[in-house]
């Protein structure tokens, strides 16, 4: 992108897509607004995961831990201390980040890698889930309900789905920009170096512990903030929706399917998953597991045929076409 023409073209494409997404809700009904919001939401979480799992190569199987901590922090603060959900969102991010820093400093200090790190994260999410189950069955048997305040930007509650759409669009765009910056700056190269070969990265003078922890901090903060959005969107949260294993899986599927360690892969993957599973739901009816069955099938196909995700596959096809010409 050193010469002017492709750069100009890229900016034009981004502006066009941006304008399209801003005016989109005017032309589609509530159902599609919800669908696209869900894509943004999972895309957002996918990108948050991607910073740790895709760029820094620390494969987390327990991002539900951060998501749940975020959702619970803002919701409980709101109910019991009357904390405004916007402030709660920041506090949620900080709480999630503290959990991330705690587990990160433990596992990176002891050099946990690969499957061992993945399983540690899984265990962390499960431990938090068990605590949440304990709290919820005693105090919130019907889930944590956020008090209804009506239509109010201040209270992060809307009767229409459109404001949620714009909030998520902004959050998603912000993380997209952040990912782009990481990709272009030195920090992204450090992350990738760690992912590719930790020993080599260390011998180049990269402080493994600090950079892994940095990736963990960013990723866990963003994921927890996403948890608050979820709680405000549905106005109810329970232990399964917050800390369940499926939450961790749904978060990591986007980047894996779209292309981990890329800027646009995660959102692409989230979109493909969401639209295909919605499509399957419409055809096969509302059986509860249908979308997960579709996820499973897509995952199998992508892992076997497109090991670097859909984006990687597209790049490969593009470069082959280019050679032929």
């Amino acid at each position: 992108m050193s010469n002017g023409m492709p750069r100009m073209r890229n900016i034009l494409v981004i502006v066009a897509v941006g304008i399209f997404l801003v005016i989109l809700p005017r032309f589609i009904g509530d159902y599609f607004v919800h669908l696209v919001t869900t894509v943004f939401f999972f895309g957002y979480l996918a990108m948050a995961w991607n910073i740790l799992g895709g760029y820094a190569g620390q494969f987390s199987f327990g991002h539900a831990a951060f998501f749940g901590v975020g959702a619970f922090t803002s919701s409980l603060l709101q109910i019991h201390a009357g904390v405004n959900p916007w402030i709660g969102m920041i506090l949620a991010g900080i709480a999630g980040m503290l959990v991330g820093l705690f587990i990160g400093s433990l596992s990176f200090r002891f050099g946990l890698r690969g499957a061992y790190f993945a399983l540690t994260m899984l265990a962390l999410a499960e431990m938090l889930r068990l605590i949440a189950v304990q709290v919820c069955t005693v105090r919130y048997p019907l889930g944590i309900n956020i008090p209804i305040k009506g239509n109010s930007l201040l209270h992060f509650q809307f009767t229409s789905k459109v404001p949620y759409y714009y909030i998520m669009l902004i959050m998603m765009a912000a993380v997209l920009c952040l990912t782009y910056v990481i990709e272009r700056k030195k920090i992204g190269s450090y992350f990738k170096a760690i992912r590719e070969n930790e020993e080599a990265a260390e011998s180049l003078g990269i402080n493994l512990f600090n950079y892994k922890l940095l990736a963990m901090a960013i990723s866990s903060f963003l994921t927890a903030v996403g948890g608050t959005f979820y709680a405000q969107y549905y106005l109810i949260i329970d232990e399964e929706a917050a800390f369940g294993v499926m939450v961790s899986i749904e978060i990591l599927l986007g980047p894996i399917i779209g292309g981990a360690g890329t800027v646009f892969g995660p959102i692409l993957g989230a979109g493909v998953l969401e639209f295909l599973s919605e499509f399957a739901r419409n055809i096969l009816g509302g059986y509860s597991g249908i979308h997960l069955m579709v996820y499973g099938a897509i995952l199998i196909v992508v892992i076997i045929f497109l090991p670097s995700g859909i984006l990687g596959g597209l790049k490969l096809a593009y470069s082959k076409l280019g050679k032929r010409e």
Binding site: T137, L299, I300
Partner: protein, 293 residues
């Protein structure tokens, strides 16, 4: 925290050991697969669920004794494991380990939710008349199907151990798990070993499913109860260590039932995960493992 009486304590210990036997059988299959192929098989829970459903349907539809259906669930799961290895995992053996893990995750999502689609999420239980009796020994009350499950689990573990230790094929499997290149140079067909290992691993957990079905609920998502415990056990016992997995299973069974006696509600499992994280951090080669590398 509650202080249990002595009889409750004894009861918990016995229950824990009995349940631990089943956990062991689940974990042994997982450990074997990991040891040979270095793949964490996320589909292990769905294999177990299929074993349970095999037994359930054979009993409900044909009235065949649940333990007799071992003769069906073991070969069915063996073949399923072999097919998944042959047609899916074998295609990406050289890919990074995450991809193999994710492939088995995909298989698991597919199988579990397909089962949900076909069999509905309902919880089913088997009513087997002769198994509903509890045996009273002194102050202890012991459920018969758990005793049978434990005994079968021990027998199957011993058979598997003997097979790995004393037969040519078993020795080849162990060789492949310890030294890939070396076993290739002495003419071991690695592909065949991988099929076998995955098949045997699936067969073990299928048998565990059959043995569990008479005293547990049967539902498409039941596998997730066991699979995370199995990960814990495999890590406790040392990844790839069969005997370690057996004792790891007993430890987890004990920790769970003793935890239940002291700590109310769901928090009993908290102890298991806590032990798990501690082992991962401080002794990742497992409680019984020798440090590699």
């Amino acid at each position: 925290m509650t202080i249990p009486s002595l009889s409750l304590l004894l009861q918990s210990i016995v229950n824990g050991i009995l349940m631990g036997g089943v956990y062991s059988l689940v974990a042994i299959g997982l450990s074997l697969i990991f040891g040979v192929m270095h793949i964490i098989n996320f589909a292990h829970g769905s294999f177990m669920m299929l074993g349970m459903f095999t037994t359930y349907w054979v009993y409900v539809l044909l009235g065949i004794d649940p333990y007799l259906s071992l003769l069906l669930s073991i070969p069915v799961l063996f073949i399923l494991g072999l097919v998944i290895q042959r047609f899916l995992i074998a295609l990406i053996l050289d890919a990074p380990e995450y991809n193999q893990l994710l492939l088995t995750l995909g298989v698991s999502l597919f199988i579990e939710n397909f089962a949900l689609f076909v069999w509905s999420p309902n919880y089913r239980t088997m009513e087997v008349p002769y198994l509903s009796k509890a045996v009273t020994v002194g102050i202890l009350t012991i459920s018969l199907p758990k005793v049978i499950a434990f005994l079968f689990a021990v027998i199957l573990t011993v058979i598997l151990y003997y097979f790995l230790k004393h037969t040519d094929l078993g020795k080849a499997i162990r060789a492949a798990s310890e030294e890939k290149e070396g076993s290739l140079t002495v003419g071991i067909n690695l592909r065949r070993i991988y099929y076998l290992a995955f098949g045997i691993g699936a067969a073990c957990v299928g048998a565990a499913g059959t043995l569990t079905a008479p005293f547990f609920y049967v539902s498409p998502q039941v596998g997730s109860v066991f699979v995370i415990l199995a990960f814990v056990i495999v890590v406790l016992g040392g990844m790839g260590n069969i005997i370690g997995a057996f004792f790891g299973g007993l430890i987890v069974g004990l920790a769970e039932s003793l935890g239940a006696a002291f700590i109310p509600g769901q928090l009993k499992q908290f102890i298991i995960y806590f032990i798990f994280v501690m082992v991962l951090l401080f002794k990742p080669e497992g409680l019984f493992g020798k440090a590699h590398e």
